[in-house]
């Protein structure tokens, strides 16, 4: 049995037609529902998603200018707490989403990758600002990554230099919609981690790295 073939996500106080990129989302829903979804699990997943999408915890991560707009969104005037996003986490292990604010340069790229790897599944990435999308004003530079999607997969892009706080909020809502249509039980699971690493193995790994 199939449910929700034409399912539209609902965001409070915002009409479905007012969002852009609806076709993308609809196609995504279609893809997700291809094999059909069992009723009970589907409903359960909806309930879980409702909870998840209304309490997304971002990682405090900002490298440059766009980070100031992030602080403004967190501030009293724009206040993303209205959407349940207010708890910034300083540790990637407790965060659900990483907002990449600012330019990512060669020296920072491995750090960003590691932060992403440390986050628990399910995890999301939002690239905010033209720097994070493509290198932006610094595209010609010798030391700037041409967009974070070269390093980690991105869910939502928010253009602007810097994007206005309203644009960042809009990007957050788009992510919320994406979370809502996903099937929670089919999300990627955490890769299996070996329980313990012996000092010898650890050393060998380190040597292999340094030799490279």
């Amino acid at each position: 049995m199939e449910i929700g073939k034409n399912k539209k996500t609902h965001i409070k106080n915002m009409r479905y037609e007012d969002f852009k990129d609806n076709e993308y989302l609809e196609k995504y829903v279609e893809e997700l529902r291809q094999g059909g979804v069992p009723v009970a699990l589907g409903k359960l997943s909806d309930i879980i998603n409702w909870g998840r999408s209304n309490s997304v915890w971002p990682l405090t991560f900002a490298t440059s200018c766009c980070g100031i707009e992030f602080m403004c969104v967190g501030g009293a005037h724009y206040d993303f707490a209205r959407f349940g996003w207010e708890v910034y986490r300083n540790s990637p292990r407790q965060a659900d989403v990483i907002f990449v604010f600012g330019t990512i340069v060669h020296k920072m790229a491995p750090v960003l990758k590691r932060l992403y790897d440390q986050m628990a599944e399910p995890k999301y990435v939002v690239a905010v600002g033209s720097c994070a999308i493509s290198g932006g004003p610094f595209k010609n530079s010798y030391h700037v990554a041409q967009g974070v999607d070269q390093i980690i997969p991105v869910d939502v892009y928010v253009p602007g230099c810097p994007p206005r706080p309203d644009a960042i909020l809009y990007g957050m809502m788009q992510l919320e919609r994406k979370i809502k249509v996903q099937n929670f039980f089919k999300l990627p699971q955490q890769p299996e981690v070996k329980e313990s690493v012996t000092p010898v193995e650890n050393e060998a790994q380190y040597e292999a790295k340094t030799d490279k």
Partner: protein, 543 residues
């Protein structure tokens, strides 16, 4: 000074000392550099403002800008160069000016010049494995040579610090010294850490809770702005200046415009001058509010941070109305400002002034007198006046140690000569002084705006400039007082529509360097407070 130099050094003549625009430029051979530097310091030039690396094509060189600590407007440029591009060796001046140590590392990173005797010649921004020196004119920017890395560079081997020397035949020698002892306990703070105010990486050696030494690592947001400037026209570069120290973006842009206008000998309409001054001061208030908020945030008082942001939003609204942008107002242009004032501007600013005064009072009541806050800030993080000058710590942080260095007073630019305000000074140089001085400066900024807002002259808001701006040949240097200290712009022009070399003096860089001198002996928790009270902006350092 010219007389003194020629008297002291017989070999100095008309060829290697020129005066233009009231500024002396002394050109010396590398082997004479240290003595001249030492003599300049004897004469009171104890503040090394900036060091600019240069690639002249046939030779590599550096320009040191030095000023007198007692009067920071008194500037001398000291130039030297070496023809050898394979092994460029220049003696260090870090023995004379303490802060030269870090400036020389930067020049080394960009140009590959080795400074003999500098005891730390690691690269500053780029990875040790980076191939080539990016600011040389013959640098090959092919991305295949330096691909995007996805693995961290192991930092362990960075504990061996190269030191360059010279042997009896004039050949270059390298020796390595260790950074840490075997029993040092080293902790990494950053690059992703909420208390470093950006992507700064501090390697801190600890003895229990006491800091033994701090070693800052930069470059996690090195965007190569200076190299990019060489390919852009002057109006295009303006957009990059905003993105250096984004909290004082308008002032940085102002500095670049002033530098170009000085070179073009262009007069800016009175109206634009006054508008620029008002915008600068509004930016300063906005920046200090964030600075103040983040000190409190570091102490755990998130409320203060929210209050700071709330008041800052009012300024952002004013900017947005007139300039169209919030954080990046993109308002100053060469010859004036980009657009005329919004009709609401005057009313909004006039409403803002009493509001801000009231809020300042509240901030003082809530935080400045709070026993928990004062307990954390009083009596820790002492920066002495001598240290401040040796490190070139300008701005509020330097003034908290009693150093008079406000360029708005020393070398009035824009409309600062016409307004009445105090240069706030404090004597103790503690974390608390750096905290309180920011709030006091907000009051002074309000005074400046108050005097100007009703006296904006009528007339055009910008001078007409040609479509293609070409600066005349020569070196130009201009400083302004931004929210963190003296921000400088150096432009070397060869008469083209793009500059030959652009260098920005970042006031934040020396603030991080100061952690090395100030933090040891204190607790780790005080190190965090120290960072908060210095209020550095990392992208400005890394450029």
């Amino acid at each position: 000074m010219k007389q003194k130099l020629t008297n002291r050094f017989g070999w100095i003549n008309e060829n290697n000392i020129v005066e233009n625009d009231g500024r002396l430029t002394v050109t010396v051979a590398p082997d004479k550099l240290t003595e001249v530097a030492a003599f300049l310091k004897e004469c009171g030039y104890d503040f090394l403002v900036d060091m600019v690396g240069m690639d002249y094509g046939d030779s590599l060189g550096v320009i040191d800008y030095v000023a007198r600590g007692a009067d920071t407007s008194d500037l001398i440029a000291l130039k030297t160069s070496v023809p050898d591009r394979e092994h460029p060796l220049i003696p260090t001046v870090s023995g004379v000016w303490r802060v030269a140590q870090i400036y020389e590392r930067e020049v080394h990173d960009y140009f590959g010049i080795r400074f003999i005797g500098n005891n730390d010649m690691r690269r500053l921004f780029l990875r040790e494995s980076w191939k080539g020196y990016p600011l040389r004119k013959d640098y090959d920017a092919d991305p295949n040579i330096n691909p995007l890395p996805l693995e961290n560079e192991p930092i362990a081997d960075m504990d061996t610090i190269p030191v360059y020397g010279i042997d009896a035949d004039g050949k270059e020698t390298v020796t390595y010294r260790p950074m840490y002892g075997d029993d040092d306990y080293v902790v990494n703070i950053g690059p992703q850490h909420p208390a470093t105010h950006g992507v700064l990486h501090l390697r801190v050696a600890l003895d229990g809770e006491i800091v033994r030494s701090v070693d800052p690592h930069f470059g996690y947001i090195h965007r190569g702005i200076e190299k990019m400037c060489e390919g852009y026209t002057y109006p295009q570069i303006l957009h990059l200046t905003d993105r250096l120290d984004y909290l004082s973006g308008i002032m940085n842009r102002h500095a670049f415009c002033l530098c170009c206008e000085k070179a073009l000998q262009m007069d800016v309409p009175e109206r634009a001058v006054v508008i620029r001054t008002i915008f600068d001061e509004l930016t300063r208030i906005a920046s200090h509010l964030i600075g103040w908020g983040s000190i409190c945030n570091d102490m755990g008082a998130i409320t203060a941070f929210m209050y700071g942001l709330r008041d800052r939003e009012k300024i952002m609204d004013i900017f947005e109305e007139t300039a169209g942008g919030r954080l990046m107002a993109a308002y100053d242009v060469i010859g004036g400002v980009a657009s005329d004032l919004h009709p609401n501007f005057r009313r909004r600013v006039k409403e803002f002034i009493p509001y801000m005064r009231k809020m300042l009072h509240e901030h003082h009541l809530l935080f400045s007198a709070n026993p928990i806050a004062t307990g954390r800030m009083k009596g820790v993080g002492h920066l002495s006046l001598e240290q401040a000058i040796a490190l070139g710590i300008t701005g509020p942080s330097g003034r908290a140690s009693g150093w008079k260095n406000d360029l708005r007073k020393a070398e009035p630019y824009a409309a600062y000569g016409k307004v009445d305000f105090d240069e706030v000074l404090r004597q103790d140089g503690m974390t608390f002084d750096r905290y309180i001085i920011r709030l006091d400066e907000i009051e002074q900024s309000l005074r400046i705006i108050e005097q100007l807002i009703d006296n904006i002259p009528e007339g055009p808001y910008a001078e007409k400039v040609k479509g293609v701006i070409k600066l005349p040949e020569g070196d130009f240097f201009q400083r302004v007082e931004n929210a963190r200290g003296q921000f400088g712009v150096h432009i070397t022009s060869r008469g083209d529509k793009t500059p030959y070399r652009v260098k920005f003096r970042s006031p934040s860089m020396v603030l991080v360097e100061a952690l090395k001198d100030v933090a040891p002996g204190g607790k780790v928790a005080d190190l965090i407070m120290l960072g908060g009270s210095f209020d550095y902006v990392i992208p400005c350092i890394d450029r």
